[in-house]
Symmetry: C2
Subunit: 129 residues, 2 copies
DNA sequence: TACGACTGTAACCGCAATAGTTACACTAAG
DNA sequence: CTTAGTGTAACTATTGCGGTTACAGTCGTA
């Protein structure tokens, strides 16, 4: 994996590449690191994947940057009137459905790897013009 | 459908029931109306479903209040560097996958009706204590 | 061992989205 | 025509987040 011979991949370079600030990149990198997807060299820079791109799914990334808490893609009104029949039970009534919906979405992400995405990008490029 | 004999369902009542402001309710009702899900009596109040609860899916509601544009549950970085291979193509490369993920989620919502939800709520209530 | 390059993170600003609120014109049932 | 309720504009407050600055921590390297 480690591309030492390649050019050094610092947060600064990445930030420049997507028109943003290095700190934003480092924050994201921190999440990816916490999730064990990347390894970061503190001193003389450089970030590397800890696994083969074919072994990392979009769900891994999605979870890592926690677009949404493990819990709930959908969040439900959290201050219902206890006196209300609906307020008391709607959360539970909706819960399994919403959870299933979220899972269905995540399973699609789980089925696509970084490898596939990069391959796709290159394919796109060849089809240009 | 019309429950004339029942108590009048004004935005004020609904707001009180969920601890919010009548205007917030009216805004939501406006979206549901635009989607053709409800009918609202302008003068002496009252809101009614235009279809049987069994004929309204959670997806209908979800779409009506447009939690997310028809287009994209996921939005991708929109100002890529044209000079960058990845920037140029990642959107297209990810597009079909993300669309499939969103559709998978929506299909689950499409499979559940308001009827089922209300039934579920009542069931929950009976299981209490 | 000291230097320099880079990461990790706190702190702050600014912007956008949205709930909440007030106000008021519009509508229709009685 | 009166009155209760809707439709909507306008404003405020709050929240979340990208962007930015600043600086301490880390570690290859001379």
């Amino acid at each position: 994996m480690q591309q030492e011979d390649d050019v050094l991949l610092t947060s600064e370079r990445m930030a420049g590449s997507v028109n943003t600030n290095p700190v934003v990149i480092r924050r994201l990198l921190g999440q990816l690191k916490k999730a064990g997807l990347v390894e970061v060299r503190p001193a003389s820079g450089g970030t590397f994947l800890t696994r083969q791109p074919a072994a990392i799914s979009l769900l891994d990334v999605y979870r890592a940057v926690e677009v949404v808490e493990e819990g709930q893609l959908f969040s439900v009104h959290d201050k219902p009137l206890p006196a209300c029949l609906v307020g008391r039970n709607i959360q539970a009534a909706l819960d399994t459905t919403l959870r299933r919906a979220q899972t269905a979405m995540e399973q699609v992400l789980a089925g696509v790897t970084l490898q596939q995405v990069t391959t796709e990008i290159l394919t796109q490029e060849n089809l240009k013009d």
